[in-house]
Subunit: 300 residues, 2 copies
Amino acid sequence: MRWGVEQRLEFIEFRLFWEGSINRADLVEFFGVSVPQASKDLTLYQERAPGNTEYDNRSKRYIAADKFVLRFINPDPYVYLGQLRAVAEGSAAPHESWIARLPQADAALTPRRDIDIEVLRRILDAVRSKGSVEVLYQSMNRQRPDPIWRRITPHAFGYDGFRWHARAYCHMEHKFKDFLLPRILDIRSKGKPGANAESDWLWNNYFDVIIGPHPDLTESQKIVVAKDYCMDDGTAVLPVRYAMLFYVLKRLGLLSNPEKEDPRRQHIVAINKAEVLIALEKSNMSQEVSRNIPAPAGGE
Amino acid sequence: MRWGVEQRLEFIEFRLFWEGSINRADLVEFFGVSVPQASKDLTLYQERAPGNTEYDNRSKRYIAADKFVLRFINPDPYVYLGQLRAVAEGSAAPHESWIARLPQADAALTPRRDIDIEVLRRILDAVRSKGSVEVLYQSMNRQRPDPIWRRITPHAFGYDGFRWHARAYCHMEHKFKDFLLPRILDIRSKGKPGANAESDWLWNNYFDVIIGPHPDLTESQKIVVAKDYCMDDGTAVLPVRYAMLFYVLKRLGLLSNPEKEDPRRQHIVAINKAEVLIALEKSNMSQEVSRNIPAPAGGE
DNA sequence: GGAGCGCGTTTATTTTATATACGCGTTCCT
DNA sequence: AGGAACGCGTATATAAAATAAACGCGCTCC
């Protein structure tokens, strides 16, 4: 089966499954295919997936039957919702999505500085070729109020649920750090690497954050929260890169004292809080750490 | 130009732009076309976008030329990074992505309860047909420790940066509320709507959150933060649905007292804090609100 | 210096898709 | 009630796209 036909059959099934119906005109519009071809595709789909469709003369559409057997796609709620989010956030055009009738959706969103597309391209290039680049970086460090050129060797990307950064070896400070992509204002001059990915200890090693329901919740509430976070016996283990620990804790509300927060807002606490704090210091994300920690790194 | 050819040309340009190179074998592998056809596609691309490629005999690949003129795609950093995230989060299969050599990437992620795919399908159906459904909902309300059946009329979806909920009119409490999709355990019996989307005041109306840099930052740091959040004159206006206000504030760390937090962790504060608090009460998300507020709603 | 590999191109053949046209049945409007 | 409108299916001939199989070329790497 040719790729184009396969795509159209998947499209038909996608629309049937998530939207409940499909039309010959849908195919014509989306794929630019001729009317007879669209008819053939629909016939072919009905041959390959018999019993999945019923034609409704009122709406003049094929309707998904009650007992629907998937044959071409393997749908997932989070994939569908991810498309919704992408459209809602503006990072995907509505006509590119296979979802035709987008339901109203809103995502908690914040304005953010743009990422320079050339910067990202050349960071990616440096990561692939395992080289270094010079970046004009706008740090938050009070010693460096203005953007300065510094050489870095990037090897990975991190997303804190809000912003993207490049994980890179900094040739100036001789350690691995996070560089927020929107704060890289310019980029130039490829060069030799300063350190390879394998030596980024904080990136390559994981710490287990153990979470549990907030102690002030009622027993039944704790059960709900436990299910929400896929906990087993009231706890869940989250393996987190040391380099990502700060962001994960922030996201989960575990940076300050979650047990003192209102349990209706803060549902979980860290069970191994003491170890978490030590790990956080180790990761140097707390930024209140002495300088003699091995393999330090920090966000700016 | 046929849809399939168009797709392949876009694919070629995508790979050239983001990955720096493309191969005949790449086309054969991804689209399942024959070797001669892949050759023809590459030739066609070079005709339509002359000067974009150079053949490198070492790697036996077409390399993106230095001065690259986009002809078929309109790339965006956040679209590319969105794909990275989707793969990193597991909500997209690596082979479905057009990115071949996925750089190392990590996203601050949390285990989460699954969404029942049938639940989502039928909620979507209810939204489209503007009807109601009965859902078996696991609330956190201490009066209802066990899941109960309740009729709702959903009309939209919300994403708080972490979880998805359905915005719906609750026939039991006679008001609009948020229903977390993972907590809907079962679904049944379509019915007539209880209220339409237009009467969900908290969803349809917006409040302007005004944010600014944390006052304890240095002047230069404030400038950086201002740029990070696309602020103008040191402030940015965020129009937020009342129904989403709680989530946005939580995400931005503005729920408690951001000005008392360490500015290195909490970069921004709300300028119109008093109004924000009133709006938050209005939205009934604080859950510490008297019962006589018009058109109340709340998260459970 | 030769094996290996990826590229390009040729041929004949098959598959896919198109344009154009027609009849059918249902719905909806007058 | 009658007819226009619309979407469906299908027929035909034609055009385009893609395939299989085969060959030579040039470069790299061993």
